[in-house]
Symmetry: none
Amino acid sequence: MVAIRSAEIIAVGSELLTPHRTDTNSLFLSGRLNELGIEVRAKAIVGDDLGDLADILRQALGRADLVVITGGLGPTEDDITREAVAAVLDRPLFEDAGIIATLEARFAERGFAMPANNRKQAQVPRGAMVLPNPKGSAPGLWIGHGDRVVVALPGPPRELQPMFDIGVAPRLAGVTAGRRWRRRTIKLTGRAESQVDEVAREIYSPLQHAAVPVHTTILATPGQIELHLAAAGADIAAVDTALDAAVTALATALVPYVFSVDGRSLEAVVGDLLRAKRLRIAVAESCSAGLVLGRLTDVPGSSEWVVGGIVAYDNEVKVTHLDVSRDLLGAHGAVSEQVASAMADGVRRRLGADVGLGITGVAGPAGGSPEKPVGTVVVAMSGIAPAVRTFRFPGDRQMVRQFSTAAALDLVRRALLAP
Amino acid sequence: MVAIRSAEIIAVGSELLTPHRTDTNSLFLSGRLNELGIEVRAKAIVGDDLGDLADILRQALGRADLVVITGGLGPTEDDITREAVAAVLDRPLFEDAGIIATLEARFAERGFAMPANNRKQAQVPRGAMVLPNPKGSAPGLWIGHGDRVVVALPGPPRELQPMFDIGVAPRLAGVTAGRRWRRRTIKLTGRAESQVDEVAREIYSPLQHAAVPVHTTILATPGQIELHLAAAGADIAAVDTALDAAVTALATALVPYVFSVDGRSLEAVVGDLLRAKRLRIAVAESCSAGLVLGRLTDVPGSSEWVVGGIVAYDNEVKVTHLDVSRDLLGAHGAVSEQVASAMADGVRRRLGADVGLGITGVAGPAGGSPEKPVGTVVVAMSGIAPAVRTFRFPGDRQMVRQFSTAAALDLVRRALLAP
């Protein structure tokens, strides 16, 4: 087999042709393929139509060394990827007994008999290698075909991503040559995209013209900015050195907003800090109403550092369960630094934690006033390193809640980092 | 010219093949085309490569009545859309004097002479109609070619969108057969995709061959299945009748799993039920740790029916804040129907709510046992219509938490619906 240098990606599914959804798996796949030194030459999105998929697959194989197909591997009549691959590569389908056994075991574990239509997922084109799917029922396929390779993976990202990393990337690494792309990600919070860009631009402009050019992209979501750095070359050590220097320069210029340069999420960084200091946290949430606790406990093992919390959506709960006095509520209002601090204190003492965190705000669309418009949010920390901050976030209800959650976690991060 | 019924969309630009960007113009275009009764059959994304674009355009014209190309109309060497269209349709390019005059005036207005490379934007395939671009320098193209139409529009959405609405939509309206697409969505929970498909298939198979054919797609995420129905026709009333009949047949067959046929989320449906019955809810969460409260309060106005909750991540919090007895925890374990029910009772009484909801389970990756493996989750409701259910969910930590959240909300929905 000759080296794999170029790829095309085909996403299958009629829902991806509607006005409200489109393929996003190809972004993940492009990143991984680029890292392996494989260029993505084109992408296609096709409905659940056997003829159209076969047509587009045939044409892609005429241009690219590798074609990755995503979706269309489910158990329903709609799912036509197996048939299309079999037709284009002229390899008849047969039923794989190993897949049947795996599917039956999977359903038995949940106390069901395997529905008859799942049998379809055991159909495999002759000569294909089956890629196990630990997170779902649809196995993937790897088919070497002359000097070409066809890979088929299920559509759900949580199934596709580990299958690519475990089953596809190592096989591709053996058949690609030379140049590799390497990437770094800097994650930060507490700044707007334009503020980050203004600081970072002076650093990354010259990087694009260095001996090993470093390409940068900025990506913003509510409460989080990511700087993506990428560089390519045959000499991996030189590429890594260039990227590390760029990360250091950017992270230094953007202290104290940077929370990770190693891919960790903000909640994982906060969890690591709490664990290292042997501290346990309790959270009192009003406008964020569970989202801060939801993120903190998204980290495996978080029961070590999260005690729990009180969601005080009704002001009465702030009084009865967080010991916020009615006088304080009356004097300053529920969205105030005084009340946020009292919430943090109350939840820390009530739940016996070392650190207390309080979040209160106006998420909207109703509830705003001239003094405290929609988007006004106060976060407070109690116990170790008491702190309180007031924010005015832009956007709709959902954005304000996301911003609040990030701001609360970041308050803890910064307080625990302080010397 | 025959009627235009189907379209393909091709986005041109190498930046759209990187890991951080993809085509989004096709979402806008799909919406507009569907409104005009035109089905989008496939989409492609191609780099700035003349050969690849020509290849993909040729193939698209073999399948669809209309091909819309976005991007690649700028003044630089990279911009190859005009050349590709000219090559595929075999219509030589000539320089359009009108475009040159418009470009010169545009630059003169800003006090510049027209740069030499902008002259390229005046190249037009013979027989093409020029579509003016009030917001940029790149004019668009409309080319009737036998019974096919090719449209080329610039990539920036603020240029493309008004050009489509002003220059393209009215022309298409004249050549479509008056067919319009309409859509419906059925949302359900509590079943696996294959189980839903097995029930639904007998209903929707004949629908595809009815007088007004109804097309269906099934989409699954952890804790939610969506059935998307679409139909087209010149007689909108007949299309709506066919869709409504299909929705009724499917929703009837899938009671009690269907929670909405009008687009509402599960948390909005639960909120509407609570509000209608003037009931207020409080939630005690362990494995879901805030996610149920987060979803309930995602609905604007939810302070009317959500009191708040206790996140009892540590068992000690279950005892001190939810009145779960140590004996009960010792006898049955934290993940048990007894403890879930006690949590629901405790949070309801402590927070003075009408309805209490308790969620406890093993989200993993650690904490499983042979009797209670990872994925074991118990949800309980107290107050109005007490109920308790044990589940065994598949997947990783994140999936188990999503499944738990949907199961808890659905327990409330079903209890409040019961006569």
